[in-house]
Amino acid sequence: MANQKPLLKAEDLSKRYEDGVLALDHINLGVRGGEVYCLLGANGAGKTTTINLFLNFIPPTTGTCYIKGIDVTKDPLEAKKYVSFVSENVMLYGNFTARQNLEFFAKLGGKTNLTKEQYYQVMRRVSLQEKAFEQRVKTFSKGMRQKLGISIAIIKDAPAVLLDEPTAGLDPKAAEEFLEILTELKGEGKAILMSTHDIFRAKEIGDRVGIMKEGRLVMERTREELQYEDLVKIYIDYMKSEPLTA
């Protein structure tokens, strides 16, 4: 893995908004295939901004995001072929059934000739109840919607996956199931970048964990390093420390 090129890479990435707020300050990170990178940090630390920059929702002030070596700003449509995205609160189309939603996003992702059974298989894989497949999504709980969200990411079968606080608001069982699916995706060689508040799960699943504060990546540890360190303590220490100077 060490020699492998990162599928997701941020190089000297900064973002300053029109109102002057510096949301991201010269971030460098990379995520290789088969690796889970967890971004930890308080609200406003810059986690979601990083993901938004990878998806080209906003342009960077400086620096570049690469997906599979493709500059996201220069060729966003080509870059997005190789990435899936799961947001904090997957809303989808409430009047559509789970299968209809999955079919629509699969087609957007370039999978045009899948059968109903193939959609069902993906939903089974994320442990969505069979009876929910043809139910309207507006009747779904948040956990069910998140599962459907990850099934959308799975069906696209992109080599990189971006997750923006996907377990926020999920009950422990649903969150655990969600992480099991992520472990499977990691096993398939996907590069996963996940922003989260959940220190325990970040330690459990992350091959690398980065802590963000005021737009900066203030710490990065590998799974091996964290075997000998207390991530909770490190995180709290960083959160309590003096504000960073701009």
């Binding site: 979601t48 449509l77 989808l92 629509f104 087609k107």
Partner: protein, 426 residues
């Protein structure tokens, strides 16, 4: 990649259509439109038949100096000025007397006027189109679906085009089906049977309606792409709709009245009476002075003066009135609703231009009746009227209104595109 473009576009179009089919909004909008259109078609078809029966009673007999038109079958869809145009114009030596034309016998219609196809499209369908467009961007942004869509390899252009096309088809296909069905059903009545020319005019009427509806859909999507919340978009659009459909056309007419001084019909009539009184008195004085008991030169001279002055007054009135109408039309064209009404009524032969054309023909008819009288012929010639051809209608302003509607369409879509390309999807 080029092969993927139509597939992606169709995926979005199909999604929009299915989403509409599954929504209450669509169901209610289509039910309302169908109900309104069929009610309008039925009531105005009955009204037309009543007016046609009245026409058979009032139509000029051979030799009578009367100009009266049968009701226009296309007035079932666009009433316009058809009622004014089907009045009876009786020609006499002293001028033209206008009598009420073919009227519906049921007085209750005066309290509850039936909206015609043009009114329904202008007011209701424009609102329905806005309701289809107002949340296209902002609602999906609020729900986060837009982020998910745009995390895929799909351009904003395709998303916008797909949304527009999907909603346009959802709206226009049921509308077209209901309208064409209504036309076909009315056409089954042998008394109404539309000619090929009428059918072509009807086709153009529907095409104009579709262009008008598309314009409001584009406007809805544009405002939706300017706002972050669907509720804000709806409030802004309702304001724009009310101003466009009701305020501008009425204010424009008022404004034009301030700029062009046109006397009222009553004032004109009083002035004409004054000429009559003056000349008759003068004639009596002259006749007494010259002890003229015959109907000779003095009477002829004064009648000529009366005719001349009255004609001048009428011509002056008509010129001022035409100026007022032209100015009102041009100011009102700031609103696409006004252009839509002008284009559709002219195409169906019930518009201001057609009425003006009819009046010119009636004046010419008056001249020919008077020359017949001068020649001592007792039988007046019969009045024949040919509606302006579609080509004439288009060249005399119709094409401008159509082009103006298309311009609004392109403008709103382009503004929507720019707003969406710059839209912050976060």
């Amino acid at each position: 990649m080029p092969r993927r473009t139509p597939v992606l576009l169709w995926t979005i179009v199909r999604k929009e259509i299915v989403a509409n089919l599954l929504s209450y909004k669509f169901f209610i909008a289509i039910l309302l439109t169908t109900l309104l259109l069929f009610t309008s078609f039925f009531v105005l078809y009955k009204d037309y038949k009543g007016r046609l029966a009245d026409y058979e009673l009032v139509r000029a007999k051979p030799g009578e100096p009367i100009a009266v038109l049968p009701p226009n079958p296309l007035s079932i869809f666009a009433k316009g000025l058809d009622e004014a145009m089907t009045r009876s114009f009786e020609i006499s030596r002293i001028g033209i007397d206008v009598f009420a034309g073919q009227k519906s016998g049921n007085i209750i219609f005066a309290f509850f006027p039936t909206p015609d196809f043009v009114y329904i499209v202008k007011v209701v369908l424009s609102l329905v189109a806005l309701l289809f467009g107002f949340d296209q961007v902002s609602r999906e942004k609020e729900s986060g679906v837009l982020r998910l869509m745009m995390s895929n390899s799909v351009s904003r252009t395709k998303i916008l085009a797909g949304k527009w096309l999907g909603n346009f088809l959802s709206l226009s296909v049921p509308f077209l089906l209901v309208t064409i069905l209504g036309f076909v059903l009315i056409n089954l009545d042998p008394l109404v049977r539309f000619s090929t020319s009428s059918a072509a005019r009807f086709f153009l009427l529907v095409l104009t309606a579709i262009i008008y509806i598309a314009l409001f859909l584009s406007l809805g999507i544009f405002v939706s792409a300017l706002t972050r919340r669907a509720a804000s978009s709806l409030v802004i659009l309702l304001l724009i709709w009310a101003v466009t459909v009701f305020v501008v056309p009425n204010l424009g007419t008022l404004l034009a009245r301030q700029m062009v001084d046109v006397p009222s019909v009553k004032a004109l009539s009083e002035k004409q009476d004054q000429v009559w009184t003056r000349e008759v008195l003068q004639m009596e004085i002259e006749r007494r002075a010259k002890n003229d008991r015959g109907t000779g030169d003095i009477v002829k001279k004064h009648f000529n003066v009366i005719n001349l002055e009255l004609n001048q007054m009428e011509e002056d009135y008509r010129n001022r009135f035409d100026r007022l109408v032209r100015l009102s039309k041009n100011i009102n064209r700031l609103s696409p609703a006004a252009s839509f009404v002008y284009a559709t009524t002219e195409l169906t032969g019930t518009g201001i231009g057609e009425e003006s054309h009819l009046k010119e023909n009636v004046l010419r008819y008056k001249d020919s009746v008077l020359s017949n009288l001068e020649r001592g012929e007792k039988q007046a010639p019969s009045f024949t009227y040919r509606y302006r051809s579609v080509g004439q209608v288009l060249s005399q302003g119709g094409l401008f209104d159509l082009a103006w509607l298309i311009f609004f369409n392109i403008l709103f879509f382009a503004m929507g595109y720019v707003a969406f390309v710059r839209y912050d999807v976060r």
